[in-house]
């Protein structure tokens, strides 16, 4: 067990947090609210993938189907529920997404039961050793898949007309509507993409942490910390902060006796508080200027 090994392990968990944090940031940028149910949506999709494998679908195909379904679910939720609260203040929107979180948790217990369920392995159980560092195939696979997803999302946003429209809506909704963009549909798409990213993260982490109605609660807390730490409106910041959190959490757990494995979660949260006190807009966020 050396420091580098801890760093490597930290990157794996950091990538999971990063994906969910990215989903949070995308939702925040497009609809201006924090989706506390983001993790729960991911959990639902992991359960759907689990059921599909029970019907004989290979695990990768099951995950793809569940991910697409999750995108549709995210878009549908935006259209039917979130839009009604578009102009509400943040108190109401927080409570709405908390309600979604509770419903998601309840629905999972209703359909699948509250007990722990094993999720089939996605990657072969092989270990690689490079220069004394151990990588499991699942670690490498998780990081690679998530990096691909993040890269694709970035391409979508930066290089396509659709992405340009999404960015325009995020930046200024009224101007976008006046230039003829279908704002409503673009907001739906934003939620759909966010749900898709979250879903991939949920399915990838499922074999390690097993299925459970609250399986993503811990991940959500880390992802929220990462999103806030990186600056809520910065996708790059969210991912960088997520890795930072994953790495510091692992290092602190391994080298600070008092922390051990059960208090690991304290580290990213303390980090978040400290950063926010110095830079309330987060590490990469833009400073908010308020007009009166």
């Amino acid at each position: 067990m050396n420091v580098l090994q801890q760093v490597v392990d930290g990157i794996t968990s950091g990538s999971i947090y990063g994906a969910v944090a990215l989903a949070l940031v995308l939702v925040y940028r497009s609809t201006g609210l924090i989706n506390f149910a983001q993790g729960q949506l991911a959990a639902v999709s992991a359960y759907v993938a689990f059921s599909l494998t029970k019907f004989g679908l290979p695990v990768v195909a099951a995950i793809i189907v569940a991910t697409v379904a999750s995108a549709a679910l995210g878009a549908g939720l935006e259209r039917t529920l979130i839009r009604r609260f578009e102009r509400a203040d943040h108190l109401v929107t927080i409570v709405v997404t908390v309600a979604l979180l509770i419903c998601g948790n309840g629905l999972i217990s209703l359909f699948w039961g509250a007990d722990l369920k094993p999720f089939p392995a996605i990657f072969p159980s092989r270990n690689l050793s490079v220069g004394g560092l151990h990588f499991t195939a699942s670690d490498v696979g998780t990081v690679v898949v998530l990096l691909c997803v993040i890269g694709l999302v970035d391409l979508l946003f930066q290089r396509t007309r659709f992405g340009l429209a999404l960015r325009a809506v995020a930046l200024n909704r009224e101007s976008s509507a006046q230039s003829g963009l279908p704002v409503g549909r673009l907001l739906m798409a934003g939620w759909g993409i966010a749900a898709l990213i979250g879903s991939v993260a949920g399915c990838l982490v499922a074999p390690t942490i097993s299925l459970q109605p609250g399986m993503m609660d811990g991940v959500l807390v880390y992802a929220l910390a990462a999103a806030i730490l990186g600056g809520l409106d910065s996708p790059v910041g969210a991912i960088a902060a997520a890795w930072l959190i994953g790495i510091t959490q692992n290092l602190a757990g391994a080298y600070v006796d008092f922390i051990g494995s059960d208090l690991q979660i304290v580290v990213p949260l303390l980090l978040m508080v400290l950063v926010l006190l110095v830079r309330p807009q987060g590490l990469f966020g833009r400073k908010e200027v308020q007009r009166v």
Partner: protein, 337 residues
């Protein structure tokens, strides 16, 4: 129906409302006083729990409803209060000292968290408060010397005195409900006058409040501290009838449930806090009869329904309904609204 035959003079109507309010309060007090004499121990426990949670929810209402800051930290203050109370019981201190300790320790914790937290706005504030129970639960597990760790802590206190001839559950009921009522009164008095006006302005527009000379940060810290103090008191009130506390009952889900109960009842209404607490305590009894272990789902569904159709909470919804009905009876419809 003409205007003259039913309309009351506004002063007359205000007087009538006051009399009606007084009658309702008197009847409610009488019911609350007489109820435990024939109720089962389980019912007494349930009502004591409603009183305890109502105090926690009322406190959260001061912060969320009046100051406009969403907090998910309330379960942590509830826990701090309950553990402080258990500590006092362990050391054989009188109950009043235990209550004082619970309130003081929770308030101190509240101030410590509030001072950095109030620098943040909106979501960042909400997420910082979310961190408090997330850190608090493993911490409570770890500090087993104080908290009894994951096994929890049993603290039997306040046996019914000989002279009263009451059973323990009845005595606990009276103690808890009376102190909860006292705290409601205290909060009500705190929220009249300057503090309430400052918080209203602050909630409506922080920048304007600051420009008007309201010390925004100080008032937010004050609201947070009142909220934490109520949380601590609620922890003590919880421990008296339940006599046991463990990290399991202090998970983040408790904070979420308290927030749900607050919104369901109505964020700024004292009655709403009681309604919300009753909803939180009694709902599992009802839903477990239909499908066991599904109370969380019902919780979420009720919350969504309230959010969609009664944005003012159940009490606000009833009030506006009553207002509309009485207006319809006493006033001709106005052309412009």
């Amino acid at each position: 129906m003409t205007l003259q035959d039913t309309a009351m003079h506004p002063l007359q109507r205000a007087g009538a409302t006051r009399v009606a309010g007084f009658v309702v309060a008197a009847v409610a007090t009488a019911v609350l006083v007489l109820l435990p004499l024939w109720a089962t121990p389980f019912m007494n426990l349930q009502i004591s729990l409603i009183a305890a949670y109502a105090v926690a929810i009322r406190g959260l209402g001061v912060l969320t409803g009046h100051a406009g800051q969403v907090s998910l930290a309330q379960s942590a203050f509830f826990g701090v209060g309950a553990y402080s109370a258990a500590y006092a019981v362990d050391h054989g201190w009188p109950a009043a000292v235990g209550l004082l300790l619970a309130v003081v320790v929770a308030s101190l914790a509240g101030v410590l968290i509030a001072i950095p937290a109030v620098r943040l706005r909106g979501f960042a504030f909400g997420i910082l408060t979310l961190a408090v129970p997330v850190v608090g639960v493993p911490l409570a597990n770890r500090l087993s010397g104080l908290t009894g760790g994951a096994q929890g802590k049993t603290a039997v206190s306040l046996p019914a005195p000989e002279w009263s001839g009451l059973a323990d559950d009845q005595w606990h009921y009276y103690v808890v409900v009376a102190i909860a009522a006292l705290i409601f009164l205290l909060v009500h008095n705190l929220l009249t006058g300057r503090l309430s006006r400052a918080l209203d302005l602050l909630r409506a527009n922080e920048t304007v409040a600051a420009a008007m000379g309201v010390p925004v940060q100080r008032y937010k810290v004050m609201a947070f501290t009142i909220s934490a103090a109520c949380g601590g008191a609620a922890g003590w009130l919880y421990l008296v009838p339940v006599q046991f506390i463990s990290p399991d009952s202090l998970q983040l889900t408790l904070s979420i449930s308290l927030l749900v109960a607050l919104v369901v009842g109505g964020v700024r209404s004292p009655t709403g806090a009681v309604v919300g607490a009753a909803f939180y305590v009694l709902l599992p009894n009802v839903t477990d009869k239909i499908t066991p272990g599904r109370s969380y789902l019902f919780f979420g569904i009720v919350l969504l329904i309230v959010l969609l159709f009664f944005p003012q909470g159940v009490t606000g919804g009833l009030r506006s309904l009553a207002g509309r009905l009485s207006r319809r009876r006493s006033e001709p419809p106005r052309a412009t609204e």
